[in-house]
Amino acid sequence: MFVGSSKERFVYHNTLLCLVKALQGQNITLDLRNDSYTCGQIVTVDGFMNISLCSAVYCDPQGNEFFFENLFIHGRNIRYIHIPENMSIIATIKKELNKNKETGPVKKPIAKSRKNTKALQQHMQTVASLDL
């Protein structure tokens, strides 16, 4: 289940963010806005496409390499994400969104009070009596 504010959840379900989320656990390369790039294993992705990586190598524009045990990338600084070649995009998105459906919270029907039931009955009667 995707954790985050309602806005983050909206973005996750309505944009390609779910595809990025599906890359969790994989080793990928990110190209950043300042011409640097970083490679590592994706740990988490949030609703702003902020990505945290583990055992990551960061390469700055001059070509120096730095190793980080854990690395957080601000979503705005991402230019490209290199996706594994053999991945099927549509299938991955469907799988990712269905995964959430199964584990999603089951909404219990809210038990209505006698007062509510009566009011609803009366309302339905009124509607029925209206000559529509």
Binding site: T15, L16, L19, G75, I78, Y80, I83, E85, I89
Partner: protein
């Protein structure tokens, strides 16, 4: 009902993003910020213009000033990426492939 007049089987362009939908699974041209261009097969896109391009070719154009003649020298570097996710905020324009009979 309204709009029954153009109830055609052909998908029509009602909003700008529909033009991009027509380009799905076709090679498109994307102009990016920082003098970057992409050509690739459009696999997916969303409202932010995040895109997934297959067999993408990125062209980076850099301008250098010649030390002696002080002329601007444009240098392009190209690279190929088999599958690329493009974050939408860097996109300037998307151009569908040239089609016959529009």
């Amino acid at each position: 009902m309204a709009d029954d007049g153009d109830n055609v089987a052909v998908m029509t362009v009602k909003e700008p993003l529909d033009l991009i939908r027509l380009s799905l699974d076709e090679r498109i041209y994307v102009k990016m910020r920082n003098e970057r261009e992409l050509r690739g097969k459009l696999h997916a896109y969303d409202q932010h213009l995040n895109m997934v391009l297959g067999d993408a070719e990125e062209t980076i154009t850099t301008v250098e000033i010649d030390e002696e003649t002080y002329e601007e020298v444009y240098r392009t570097t190209k690279r190929n990426i088999p599958m690329l996710f493009v974050r939408g905020d860097g996109v300037i324009l998307v151009s569908p492939p040239v089609r016959v009979g529009i």
